[in-house]
């Protein structure tokens, strides 16, 4: 189950990287590099910090998935909605999958709950952060008036942990956690839900 989810995370991550590169004059090879960095960046950070073998070095079928996803995205590029909606939905799916994989992998290494949830959030947001920083943009998670981004990953990770404690070893736990993240993020985009921001002297920024 985690294996499947990790492949799906890589595929959606690579697609968001390619979509973000669209219309910026980046050549095909640059788009592949950006897609792969987005897709495996968060997981690489997680594995390096946890000091376990990096997942795509051990099993390079993840790289193939990523490259295929970038190629398909480029191919479908001309048929996609030019608005940012496709990008935001793809990114939400990516966030949900990658946060669950991060939480579950850390949990299976017997780390305490705080660390598991933290790695869920970090793995979830890191790939997108790399993508946005490399394109010279403010990462989605730090963008003004973002609609429950890191928060959605956090609550999804927490839900997974609760489920995994109640029903150990059930593969559906990952599905529940991913669903919580995805529904929260999509609902937040749809109805513009947000957390309060850090006040300035002049009031809310």
């Amino acid at each position: 189950m985690r294996y499947l989810l990790e492949h799906l995370a890589v595929i959606f991550g690579a697609a968001t990287g390619a979509l973000a590169a669209r219309g910026k004059g980046i050549d095909w090879f640059g788009v592949v590099v950006l897609g792969l960095v987005t897709a495996v960046g968060g997981g690489t950070l997680r594995d390096v910090v946890l000091d376990v073998p990096v997942f795509w070095v051990e099993d390079h079928s993840f790289l193939i998935s990523g490259i295929v996803a970038v190629t398909l995205t480029i191919g479908m590029g001309r048929f996609l909605d030019p608005s940012s909606r496709v990008f935001l939905i793809t990114d939400a799916i990516f966030l949900a999958f990658v946060a669950m994989v991060g939480t579950q992998k850390t949990f299976s290494l017997h780390h305490p709950g705080t660390i598991c949830v933290l790695f869920g959030v970090v793995t979830g947001v890191a790939g997108g952060i790399f993508r946005d920083v490399l394109l010279g943009e403010i990462p989605l998670v730090f963008r003004p008036h973002i609609n429950l981004y890191a928060t959605a990953a956090f609550l999804g990770s927490l839900t997974y942990l609760a489920a995994a404690t109640l029903w150990p070893g059930q593969p559906t736990n990952l599905v529940i956690g991913a669903a919580v993240t995805l529904i929260l993020r999509l609902a937040a985009i749809r109805w513009k839900l947000r957390l309060p921001v850090f006040h300035t002297e002049e009031g809310v920024a």
Copy 2:
């Protein structure tokens, strides 16, 4: 002593991250992520490169310190000087503490002096670099006309190494090194001391 200093470094680092996020419309959760990245970013890089267990994975009380510091900074936000002075002083304290922890940890792993000083500087500047890059700003250390930033960390690390060679095992060595970094950086801000910059054809930039 290093344990205490590392906690203080995390606290001041998280505070600078939160202060830097102020007024940018970033939601509370994003501010926590940014504060933690600033606080533990440099130390994470250090531990990963030195191939030792990452400090906050081993002992997650550091994360609690960071989250508490971000929360307090948000809470105190409305009472703080809106100018950048509070930010620069907090950042100077963070620089001093984190550079000392970096130097001392590398030294205690029996690496040669060059590497110890380098890790002092790298750990010192890396957290702030992550913070600034994530907000789409030029990192303090590379900002035009910066007043002795990496230089202060370098001289403080060097001082610590000299002290640790003269008086091995004295916890006050860390205090001396941190004081040198902090005083140099604060004096440089106060009197606008700076190193020469890299010339351009048109003269000094």
Copy 3:
């Protein structure tokens, strides 16, 4: 041979970092930090992900090379062509050397071909990416209308792998691969060769 090439890569990388910093008002110490990050950044990422000791922690003569290269570049700064040509050529040499070292090191650790080529490309482009992101610029590899950047590293890595399979253990294999990367990149700059870009709705961006 790899040892020599790695030193040369560090030297040219440090020089590109210093050149990129020119005229931006960054102080000497900041330029040294930027040069070192550029020079060793890609290799550090490679070694951390492959979970082998980081090359400059094991042998700090690489750091000395980098610092000397930055110092010489600063010293020669006033005699250099103020245009960007010197920078692009230095960067092309750096790309060629560092891509070969990355491919060969991964190959010597008995990783499969996909991973070797990937590490060639990643090590090749990562140092330059760090340099450009830290200065708040779009990395060369993602710049609109870039002339065969990641592509040149990719084809050079592939050439090296082919050569290393045909004539195992020949040090000239690295020279052949580096030459392919360098000639491709320089030819692409000279004749403005490029790959297609990712289409937008309005046609080619």
